[in-house]
């Protein structure tokens, strides 16, 4: 299993500002995944963060809006830039387990943008 520490757990931000979310994993992992969950909806993959290379973004998500860092094999950050109320969501980081099948998730960051 993998234990993921994600912070902050929640934040209330003003529009136009940026928020950086951090995820720390208790073991080295090749890929980390960032998901967004809009209110009452399912999870949508934002990007895959690989150590030593640029993150791979899914359709509809761009690096300027959601820059990602992956400085080592246990840590990643996601920044939500120039926020608007439409960015109000839960943001989740996750990693694959040792068998590379199931996902382990952080506890999520509940973001509200006013």
């Amino acid at each position: 299993s993998a234990v993921i520490s994600q912070k902050p757990s929640r934040d209330i931000c003003q529009r136009g500002t940026s928020l950086t979310i951090q995820c720390q994993v208790d073991s080295q992992v090749t890929m980390m995944f960032w998901y967004r969950q809009q209110p009452g909806q399912s999870l949508t993959l934002i990007a895959t963060a690989n150590q030593g290379s640029e993150a791979t973004y899914e359709s509809g998500f761009v690096i300027d809006k959601f820059p990602i860092s992956r400085p080592n094999l246990t840590f990643s950050t996601l920044t939500v830039s120039n926020m608007s109320p439409e960015d109000s969501s839960i943001y989740l980081c996750s990693v694959r387990g040792p068998t590379n099948e199931k996902l382990f998730f952080g506890s999520g960051t509940q973001l509200s943008v006013l």
């Binding site: 993921i4 994600q6 890929m31 995944f33 969950q37 909806q41 399912s42 999870l43 949508t44 993959l45 895959t48 839960i90 989740l92 996750s94 387990g97 099948e101 199931k102 996902l103 382990f104 998730f105 952080g106 506890s107 999520g108 509940q110």
Partner: protein
């Protein structure tokens, strides 16, 4: 885009009853997984069924997979109030390494 569609969207049952939810998907898959989410927090993996398996059990959970119909079901037997949560199916497509999540079923178990 969403791979899995789940039904029902919401389910309300009495403690002790069984809860069944279904998931349909569109493309060929390596495996299908079910996750639980409590109160909008992180998801917890429940069970994984591979494309060459038809049924799997884990405690009070029973999962079936019908690849010809591209559908799966999750049965929770003898439900408890603590089973109140949202349940999501997720598919790993045969062509890639990503998990794609369904819309989820919100389950309320009344004591």
């Amino acid at each position: 885009s969403q791979q899995g569609e789940e039904d029902p969207q919401a389910l309300s049952i009495q403690e002790g009853e069984n809860a069944t939810m279904n998931c349909s998907y569109k493309t060929s898959i390596n495996n299908l997984q079910w996750y639980r989410q409590n109160s909008g927090r992180g998801l917890v993996h429940l069970i994984l069924i591979r494309s060459n398996e038809r049924e799997k059990h884990s405690g009070r959970l029973r999962v079936t997979l019908d690849t010809s119909k591209k559908s799966s079901s999750l049965l929770i037997t003898a439900s408890r109030a603590a089973d109140t949560a949202s349940y999501f199916c997720a598919t790993e497509e045969a062509a890639g390494n990503k998990l794609t999540f369904g819309g989820g079923t919100r389950v309320l178990v009344k004591p």
